[in-house]
């Protein structure tokens, strides 16, 4: 390729050379190569950008190249860009768009200048050709706004405001036509006042200015930081795409539209979109005029839209993804302006991934990659039960309507003060926080509540912004709502309500209902998620996924959500039933005994376990021993006060009887369930094989005459990680508590990890180089290395890991790659986990098939 050539037409450019033409440029070249109609244009290469960066100015050779390609553009469009003389009667001037296009998509780059080439004289011609001086004025204002902001670094909004004022004044004065000279200088004056320079009138000068601004934007602070953080080379540079503008309001038939190859809200297959006859694309987007559905337009122009539909579906086939297409029809000719992957709702995203898989357009891995953990969580998010919602509406329980400020459904007791909200929520009740307005003083109350309602304020108020940032459903600006926080009452019209009244909030519609509208969780089958979960399960068939539970109901739900088994923390069971008090009383009372005897409690604990096991029906079960060392029951089990009567509780295998009683209860309960495999009893803080051996001895005692169980170490300390391979030597399964390991690596109290502060502030001050919460730190690498030695030394030992809610879903894949095959999770995380493990398993299968050399860049 000629290295001195700095400009290529779309037809000349090699679509595969993304490094030279950028993402946008090679995308357009590809469309042209495939015979799709795009407005003509040319690309200024990244090589020109590199020269610009070295010299600090546009390459001298570029001028003549630009002249040549502009001339070619004038020829194919039969329109003039450079001419200084009057345009022929009825001829529209050539205007162009100028856009950046780097080889890697990245933020902070100059965006787009549209309508470049307009000036007062050419606006006159455009007004004549379109029959609308108002349109020509709009084109001029839009151009000034973008050029002022991007090239001149002036306040574009201010400039556009001046322009609009000028047009409004002209209309008010009933002048026959807008004075384009006047409009131009009004905006130029604003620019000069702001930055001391104005938009040039000469189109070629405008073009050079815009190209230089695109190149210059490569080095904006934001772009440079992004490259540094993401390891993108500074020397890539950006290309510039210059493309003829087409207009949907010149002649007939003309118009503009947007289309999706599938419905972006529901995911339903079939072309879906809107068309605005005689309109411009931005009018469709802005909603200033009402477009018609695509099917209606297709009835009037069957040939044109038939072609369009064929093209759209063919492109979808090629790109194997749902596409969003912007198009314009200019005098009966169709142009594709933009073809890109379509944005979609979480629901649509799931359905589309499942459909593409079923249609054979996506591989299982591609289908699973089509959905993110956030989207799955969103699809799972509870919503008002449809029948109950309809009933609430029909029975007149709509209390008040405000501005829908933050999506989602929630219900709870109305509380009118942030401190009380925190207290009520702390007691386990759902709270809807009702405030006149909110300020930072309300933050703790907003965090504690499940929904937020304010009487004053709009969609940009403090309450709205903070509710969205916190992910709380919110309705703001309910003008009919009167709140008396001191008096603990609120009124709507003539009705007075006491604090504590049940309310239901729909943050998507702005409706607030009186009373509790129950929430339901959508079934996986209703969304297409079922299909994805199925292939993910198949891919990760070697994995066992267990959900934590405490009650029989939870056990049944956990299994209904696809878990292979259950996990139980004995402390939860004892606290929930109140039996914990019996245990602490026994331990304190037997302080002077030589041998502690807890056998009276064996059956108490067994009776608690049996209903849960029955509900679970004999699935694999892991039970975590009471952990007095970490005081995981907080106020219920105080290590300090127990250490005096029973010093042994301070060590993992320090009081045999405490362990015996738990294991005896477990073995007894398991023995009652037909065909139940021996449950695993796991103990934290064990780090030495001798501790494990001692635990096994106690277990033998506990099992006598009862069911069998398997005991193991739940590695939770740095020492345990160091000795993981030794522990594995004498274990069927080596268990890791990933959340506890994160906590114990630093020794900070566990509470530090359950909220963003104070660690965020700590990170902000730069006091740690690695954030321990992200699972990418040195310590996490150390854990994986240790698991590597387990797999190498004791290949028969399985690895099981408990991952906490606060930990990142990516950690699942990382542990999978490190060899873990058993996962214990909160029930809410099951679907996310299944999909993430499916991705990890499929990815690993791909990696094995592709030899390492092929992946080297």
């Amino acid at each position: 390729m000629d290295s001195s050539k700095l400009v290529y037409s779309f037809g000349e450019a090699d679509p595969s050379d993304v490094a030279l033409f950028g993402g946008k440029g090679s995308g357009l070249a590809q469309l042209v190569e495939g015979g799709y109609p795009v407005p003509p244009g040319f690309i200024i290469t990244t090589a020109a950008c590199r020269e610009f960066m070295q010299a600090g100015s546009l390459p001298t050779a570029l001028d003549s190249h630009l002249e040549r390609y502009v001339e070619a553009l004038e020829e194919v469009t039969f329109a003039s860009f450079r001419a200084t003389e009057e345009l022929a009667e009825g001829a529209a001037p050539l205007l162009v768009s100028v856009r950046s296009g780097a080889p890697v998509s990245m933020p902070g780059m100059m965006d787009t200048v549209l309508n470049l080439g307009i000036n007062p004289r050419r606006a006159l011609a455009l007004a004549a050709a379109s029959g609308s001086p108002h349109f020509a004025a709009e084109v001029m204002i839009r151009f000034h706004r973008m050029y002022a902001e991007i090239v001149l670094d002036a306040d574009g909004d201010e400039v556009a405001e001046r322009g609009s004022e000028f047009v409004a004044d002209s209309c008010a004065a009933r002048s026959e036509a807008v004075s384009f000279d006047g409009l131009w200088s009004a905006m130029a004056d604003a620019e000069i006042a702001d930055v001391g320079a104005a938009v040039p009138e000469d189109p070629m000068e405008q073009l050079r200015g815009a190209v230089a601004a695109v190149f210059g934007s490569w080095n904006t602070r934001r772009a440079a930081t992004y490259r540094r953080v993401n390891g993108i080379s500074d020397s890539l540079g950006t290309a510039v795409v210059v493309q003829a503008m087409v207009f949907g309001n010149l002649g007939s038939p003309s118009g503009s539209g947007v289309a999706f190859t599938r419905n972006p809200t529901t995911g339903e297959p079939g072309l879906y979109g809107e068309y605005l006859e005689g309109g411009q694309g931005e009018e469709v987007v802005a909603g200033t005029r009402t477009p018609e559905p695509l099917e209606e337009a297709a009835r009037r122009l069957p040939e044109l839209f038939g072609d369009f539909e064929r093209m759209a579906l063919q492109l979808e086939q090629q790109r194997r993804d749902v596409l969003d297409l912007e198009f314009t029809v200019e005098r009966g000719r169709l142009y594709l302006l933009q073809v890109r992957s379509a944005k979609r709702t979480p629901n649509a995203s799931v359905r589309i991934a499942a459909d593409l898989l079923a249609e054979g357009m996506a591989s299982p891995l591609a289908a699973l990659r089509g959905v993110t953990p956030e989207q799955i969580r969103d699809v799972e998010r509870p919503r008002f039960a449809p029948a109950a919602l309809a009933d609430a509406k029909a029975s007149g329980r709509l209390l008040v309507r405000g501005i829908a400020a933050s999506l989602g459904h929630a219900h709870g007791a109305a509380v009118l003060d942030p401190d009380r909200a925190e207290a009520v929520a702390g007691g386990g009740q759902n709270v809807i926080l009702l405030r006149e307005t909110t300020s930072p003083f309300d933050l703790h109350g907003m965090i504690a509540s499940t929904g937020i309602v304010t009487a004053r304020g709009g969609a940009t108020s403090h309450a709205a912004v903070v509710a969205r940032a916190l992910g709380r459903p919110a309705v703001v600006g309910c003008a009919d709502l009167d709140i008396d926080s001191e008096g603990h009452t609120f009124t709507v019209g003539s009705r007075r309500f006491a604090e504590g009244t049940g309310l239901s909030v729909d943050g998507g519609t702005g409706d607030v209902f009186e009373g509790i509208v129950p929430l339901t969780q959508p079934a996986s089958s209703s969304t297409g998620l079922g299909d994805l979960l199925r292939i993910a399960r198949e891919a990760a068939e070697g994995c066992r996924i267990l959900g934590l539970c405490t009650t029989p109901d939870q056990a049944a739900q956990t299994l209904a959500r696809g878990a292979d088994g259950i996990g139980i923390r004995l402390i939860d069971l004892l606290v929930a039933s109140g039996a914990i008090k019996l245990l602490t009383d026994e331990l304190s009372a037997q302080r002077h005994r030589d041998r502690v005897d807890l056998s009276r409690l064996d059956s108490v604990l067994a009776e608690l376990l049996i209903p849960v096991f029955e509900a679970a029906g004999g699935v694999p079960t892991v039970v975590r021993a009471l952990d007095l060392i970490d005081g995981d029951a907080g106020e219920f089990l105080d290590l300090e006060s127990l250490l005096v009567p029973q010093p042994g509780v301070g060590l993992p295998v320090g009081l045999d009887e405490l362990l015996r009683f738990q294991m005896a209860a477990l073995a007894h309960a398991a023995g009652r369930i037909r065909d139940m495999p021996p449950p695993h009893f796991v103990v934290r803080h064990i780090a030495d094989p001798r501790e494990l051996a001692a635990l096994k001895q106690v277990a033998e005692l506990a099992q006598q005459g009862r069911g069998a169980l398997d005991v193991g170490a739940l590695v939770s300390t740095p020492l345990g990680v160091e000795k993981a391979a030794e522990l594995a030597q004498c274990s069927r399964v080596l268990w890791l508590d990933a959340h506890r390991l994160m906590v114990s690596s630093s020794g900070y109290p566990a509470g530090v990890f359950t909220s963003a502060e104070p660690l965020d502030e700590y990170m902000r001050k730069g006091r740690l180089a690695e954030d321990p919460r992200l699972g990418q730190d040195t310590w996490q690498q150390r854990i994986f290395a240790s698991l590597g030695s387990v797999r190498a030394g004791v290949p028969d030992c399985q690895i099981g890991v408990r991952i906490g809610r606060a930990q990142s879903p990516e950690l699942l894949g990382a542990y999978y790659r490190a060899g873990a095959r058993i996962f214990i999770l909160e029930p809410e995380d099951l679907w996310v986990a299944i999909v993430e493990l499916g991705k990890a398993a499929l990815q690993q299968a791909c990696d094995v098939e592709v030899p390492a050399a092929a992946t080297a860049v």
Binding site: P107, G108, D111, E149, D155, D157, E158, R221, R222, T225, Y226, V229, N230, R340, K343, S439, P440, F441, L443, H444, M446, A459, T460, H462, A464, V465, V466, R468, A469, L470, S755, A756, E757, P758, D760, E761, R764, K765
Partner: protein, 195 residues
């Protein structure tokens, strides 16, 4: 109406704006050294201007009065300054756009979001430049500029919670606090003692 010692005001003002803050947050937002913050806090506690709730501090009623009185005594002379009022008018223009873009950013999907953020960041940058001009009336305003710049840097590094999250020193948090501060300087605080 009495003025507080300078550092004392900086610290209590940081608390007044944040409503509830750890010592670290106050230190940072007031731009004080740990030692200075420590001695200010001790004296504030002695005069019952602040109350401790766990790791957090809040102002007492007399603390809030002291802050608002300080604004009145220190800045009353500025309140008729036409140049400051013009500066304020300009800020209100930015403010409307900032909040509009902030909401758009929160509700938009990826690509549009990126474009919106670029415009949002531009407004913050312009405001940061404008703060340099306002520092001739109120020198401590340069500290807001430093906070904005640090948060912009965080967002650029991929921490998008620094746009609007109330849990970190996000652009929205700083902006909100600055707005409150400016309104109090002009004698129109949103929160009066009667609230």
């Amino acid at each position: 109406m009495t003025a507080l010692p300078d550092e004392q005001f900086l610290l209590l003002n940081a608390l007044w704006l944040r409503k509830m803050a750890t010592r670290g947050t106050m230190e940072e937002n007031a731009g004080l050294s740990a030692a200075a913050a420590e001695s200010c806090l001790r004296s504030a506690a002695d005069h019952q201007l602040v109350r401790v709730m766990g790791d957090y501090y809040v102002l007492t009623d007399s603390g809030r009065r002291a802050v608002l009185d300080h604004y009145d005594s220190e800045f009353a002379s500025l309140r008729g300054d036409p140049e400051l009022l013009a500066w304020y008018e300009r800020f209100e223009g930015y403010n409307a756009r900032f909040l509009e873009l902030m909401s758009a950013w929160q509700t938009e999907a990826d690509e549009a979001k990126e474009r919106t953020y670029a415009r949002l960041a531009r407004i913050v940058e312009r405001h940061v430049e404008a703060l340099a001009g306002a520092a001739r009336w109120i020198p401590r305003y340069s500290h807001y500029a430093a906070r904005f710049e640090r948060s912009l840097e965080h967002v650029d590094s991929g921490r998008s919670d620094y746009v609007s999250s109330p849990m970190v020193d996000s652009l929205h948090n700083i902006w909100f606090e600055f707005h409150e501060d400016l309104l109090a300087v002009l004698g129109r605080p949103r929160e009066s003692l009667e609230d």
